[in-house]
Symmetry: C4
Subunit: 212 residues, 4 copies
């Protein structure tokens, strides 16, 4: 067997990890990112007196930020699954777009921690809420990039997946970055309202995503 | 193919990730939450002298809290498995109830850390033990919500699962929030006794859950 | 169908998660515990001057402790796999012994961090090295408890697994706690020598475990 | 059955966990290491004034280090998959070389955190960038060790994998340590340029690795 033949036989190998393995890896990253959120909730330091109850209640932004980010990553995990349910093959372009998505989802514990830390600090709450929203815009764009790629590469899709279906999913995926952009604008004025909107967006996606 | 037909063919897709994938994701979250507990056990800071042995022994509440929470999450993982052993299909309602359960289980490292930090502080031990118990009540309620949903939706259950069986599981699942509520009441008076009760509850569930 | 019949049909359910799922959960806990070890290696704080190189070299105990614990958990994972390779059924006793094992393995990042922090502190290095060894004795005992259970319950074993084989594995599993006990004794006198022994033990188990 | 026969029947057991299980464990470690990177990005402490925006922008090295390490571990995961795609059997040598690789990959959050912390500190940036590059050299060598082992042990490879193919993969795997060594040299002079090179290396491997 010549070197060329060997190269040929090697090229019969898939150019990227199989769809199942990419999905399992992605599931792992989602599960870890969602569980790391709790590390953002800090044990309050109380010196003397019966102050722990007050201190625990006082840091309600931590609990709200935890809940909103948990719900959001949960919804994203479901959306991610909806994508790979339609994928038959993973090419390099899909692989790297997926890595970009995972990188932005894994980053979420950081803006969540920033928001939890500064939501009660009237001077800095705006910056914290904007940072949170901006990260969400990036995550949303990552989803859009993936759907765009699937629209352009029919060979990656499972047989039953129609172009019209992908086109609708792509349009719907554009809603995410757009509403997060608007919410980020609200965050620059009213950070607590923005946090409420972030929660509502997760709720909205939870209850509408399966309609087409 | 019209847009409507495409929608139709799409709707043949499951409305939620398959039961197997939800279970694998949940297993991941349980495994991570249980392993993150150790981050709550802090390396003591000792300045000069041979104080490390004393300091290590002194923080026994950390070790007890670690053990109790580890056992509790372990039992919850087993109970969670007992649920999905009976599930054939996951609908949106089950998916979100399960997300709520995972969100409350993932939160446990926080009250565990609070308890470990304040159990020896006589002023704040009560608040810490109450916070721990209150979280457990929420986790217990999440289990009840799931069994309730399975009772109302026979289509989600595997064929061999009877309504009477689910009804019994639902009743049994109500024991959890109830005893944790009582333990939380005890915590408001005697926090160390409450910690012992939290441990006993895990032991109780470990040894009774399979009877009906 | 009467309530009793329902109970009967339910009891046809396995009394514990299947062997495959317990193994997957255990693998997850091992993988997370081994990866969390790096959180013990702290970024040194250097104020002014070109001190970072020195500071990084100065904390060599962190790197050694990381390497020894990584190797040790890795070997334990392999040994754990050797157990479940012989298991056909998981009963409650095996399930809880396995949980005890996982709880002690997940705890290892803590004594590793203690050792890394205090190995260069001549006053406290002994206590740190003893704490590390003592944890290892517990982990070793957990393995012995599992083999003991498999010896007493032939029904849990795969058909090809002989009693003589389990008996030998049980004997061999007793070596671990014993040598760790001796090493812990050394640690009370010469902590750095003890760390070297902990590393050697991992190496010894790596190269002998498959002989019988 | 004599003791010897038992030993014989036992030796029919694989000498190491199956290739699938080693791969799943490795995937878990990669997924956790890549997700732990975010813990390196610290919430800035701002006292009074509207300083959060500035503080968030000021710590850009954290975000760049996060992105570069995320991309690098992602590429390594893909390369790791390319290895195990060619592996039929795991022997002890492969198992321990793989453990060495996992241990060095899991270590990456540490040099990433060092780099993020000190890249803007002109006195210490060089040491930080050198530490980062040196770790990468070790990771690269771990890959080379694995390919070398696969070259020497044809029995471990899948039937379609040719010696010429492994030889080419081995040669290609040597590029990694070499370019990281050069980059580490650059780091000793121009740390920010070195970070850019680390990013470029990840990009280079992303776009070339599938050619032979």
């Amino acid at each position: 067997m010549t070197d060329d033949e060997a190269a040929l036989s090697e090229s019969a190998q898939p150019v990227a990890p199989g769809s199942g393995r990419v999905e399992a890896f992605s599931d792992g990253v989602f599960a870890i990112a969602i569980t790391l959120l709790v590390l953002e909730v800090k044990v309050p330091e109380v010196e003397g007196g019966h102050g722990l109850t007050t201190a625990l209640l006082h840091q309600w932004p931590s609990y709200v930020a935890y809940a909103v980010s948990f719900a959001t990553i949960g919804i994203m995990w479901i959306n991610h699954h909806a994508i790979f349910d339609r994928v038959r093959l993973v090419d390099r372009g899909l692989l790297y777009r997926n890595m970009f998505l995972l990188g932005s989802v894994s980053f979420l514990p950081f803006p969540t921690a920033v928001l939890a830390r500064y939501l009660r600090d009237s001077d800095n709450a705006r910056a914290a809420a904007v940072a949170y929203g901006a990260t969400m815009v990036v995550v949303g764009l990552a989803f859009t990039l993936i759907w765009q790629h699937l629209l352009r590469r029919p060979a990656l899709r499972k047989p039953h997946v129609t172009e019209a279906g992908v086109r609708r999913a792509l349009r719907r995926s554009g809603v995410g970055p757009f509403v997060y952009l608007v919410a980020t604008g609200v965050a620059a004025i009213a950070p607590i309202a923005a946090l409420a909107i972030y929660g509502l967006i997760a709720g909205y996606f939870a209850f509408t995503r399966h309609r087409s």
